[in-house]
Symmetry: C2
Subunit: 360 residues, 2 copies
Amino acid sequence: MTTKFCTTTNLPCGFTTSAMHIGFKRKRLDFAVVKSETLCNIALMVTKNKFKGAPLLASLDHAQNGKAQAIAVNAGNANAGNGLQGIKDAKEMAYLVAKKIEIFNTDVIVASTGIIGKPMPMKVFRKQITDLPPLNTNFTQTEQAILTTDTKTKSISVTVCGAVIKGRTLKQMLKTAVDQSFNGISVDGEMSCNDMVVLMANGMNKISVKQIYFEQALRYVCLNLARMIVEDGEGATKVIEATVAGARRAGMAEKLARSLTTSPLIKTAAYGRSPNWGRIAARIGAENGNFSVEKMEIVMNGHCLYKNGKTSKFHTDRLVQSLGGKSVSIIVDLHQGDKTFTAYGCDLTEQYVAINAAYS
Amino acid sequence: MTTKFCTTTNLPCGFTTSAMHIGFKRKRLDFAVVKSETLCNIALMVTKNKFKGAPLLASLDHAQNGKAQAIAVNAGNANAGNGLQGIKDAKEMAYLVAKKIEIFNTDVIVASTGIIGKPMPMKVFRKQITDLPPLNTNFTQTEQAILTTDTKTKSISVTVCGAVIKGRTLKQMLKTAVDQSFNGISVDGEMSCNDMVVLMANGMNKISVKQIYFEQALRYVCLNLARMIVEDGEGATKVIEATVAGARRAGMAEKLARSLTTSPLIKTAAYGRSPNWGRIAARIGAENGNFSVEKMEIVMNGHCLYKNGKTSKFHTDRLVQSLGGKSVSIIVDLHQGDKTFTAYGCDLTEQYVAINAAYS
């Protein structure tokens, strides 16, 4: 009856993987496959961006029956904005991988990350995929192969033991977990054309757990992966955790909290260790909606900075010192309702500019 | 019957000005007054931000009768977030200035720019205002005194001659001009607590012009001042002019065009001279609304990059060369209606981060 959360990179029971340099990036590992021994129940969620990468469209098609057996993922080319040819290429990727690892092509989920609008170098892919190394249980290289601007690999595993789980509602559980994690983070407020989350369950560990424990573990994994993403945002030196509480509507709490984590002035202030709460007040005031800025309270790293319509007395030195740490917590309480939302973001540094000005 | 647009810094007939170092900033000029010989008809527009600086609230009060005779403006302290004391201070500023220049206190418009949430150093102000130098017609120092993070002063004057003007609809004319200029620009997508535009007309030049010529001149002034603001955005090296055409609704064209000028990825791409149109497509795709991304066409500096659902063939070298200039033009045609909006922004550079991380 216990849930143990640990962060090993052991693959779950029945899963194997392989990674290689297929040639989309100049030198690094840029392609990986994860395969399950048996067919999995899956849940797939993709970006809300209307301009979706071709692999997402191909994968949504393959996931229609709620089943899949493998994921094929490349870095270096997003295969987005390539029209019908892109979807043809994504489907061909799935087909060639399926052939290589001996499963059905429609049981392969394909994912791509990288530059938008460049044709997939399929000639290279067709030639190289035949050299995919044998599948094994070492996830280390696979983690490397799916990096884009990331500086660190991200993986996490959770062991759930005990009890009995009744029924399968993977999709709903994933949606809830993703809404509270990946959908609450942003590096710069942009929305990827290629983001996807896939949950695969092959049932091979033979352990049945109560749904509530599984849900708890899934939330833990998603939230921690999501935090790793913002921690590793381009050029980021610290995480901004922004909570808007006391809102009348949940949607308003979410809109305001997100606006705090994407505001360039708040992000540069976090970087510069500035207790400039006026930027927070200005950001909240800039949003439309049925709330009054007079009632709002602003708290930064535990120090109350603004309340009852005016600046609070606070220990500037202590606050500035705490802003030197790895995280900045901002709480804005509107004092007008009971809805709360927490958004996660990161600071904005010169490195962000340098990386994204050069990335093309 | 001609309208002559020129950019001198001559003050209009009947206006005088004075600037000084009052002590809100360490060394620079930080306070200025502009006075009209006679009472003016005025139109006042203030930021839509709910968290308005106290000077705006005081000025809205003073402007209720549509009349004013002077503007008092300081840099270094925004007098925002200071509660009732802030309004008291703003009113006292108006009173002390009025006394000094011998007009009624309710005929003074006050404006402040600088840090939010710091009390106004009124002791200093009360003492120093008595030393305001005599009013004169040299606007040069006044331009200096109202700078914040600006690197350059901004002023423009237009001479309108001939014809007859019937009736005064200053307010409506200003609103139209501002909507098409100041309201279409952004440096970083943030919304100031203290922005205001005030139009003063003392009728002393004795020239009557047709309303249409006056409107034309007003639009010219507003648009050019607005462009100067983005050109001089913190760390900016170039202006981004983003037009969204072919939208079904004007509001949608505006929302999308603004999203292009505030996107950190598009702004860094502009800085890095990158023809990465995928970031434009992703930005448009991220917005909710009743439009289809398949039909969209993307044109950058005259080069068509995306059309009919796929990448166009374009001269990368020529485009990259043109991106080395002082401006980047982006046109996204949705091909779904006849509504158009042009937004003006600037690129995002390491200097933006450095300036805003240090400014507190």
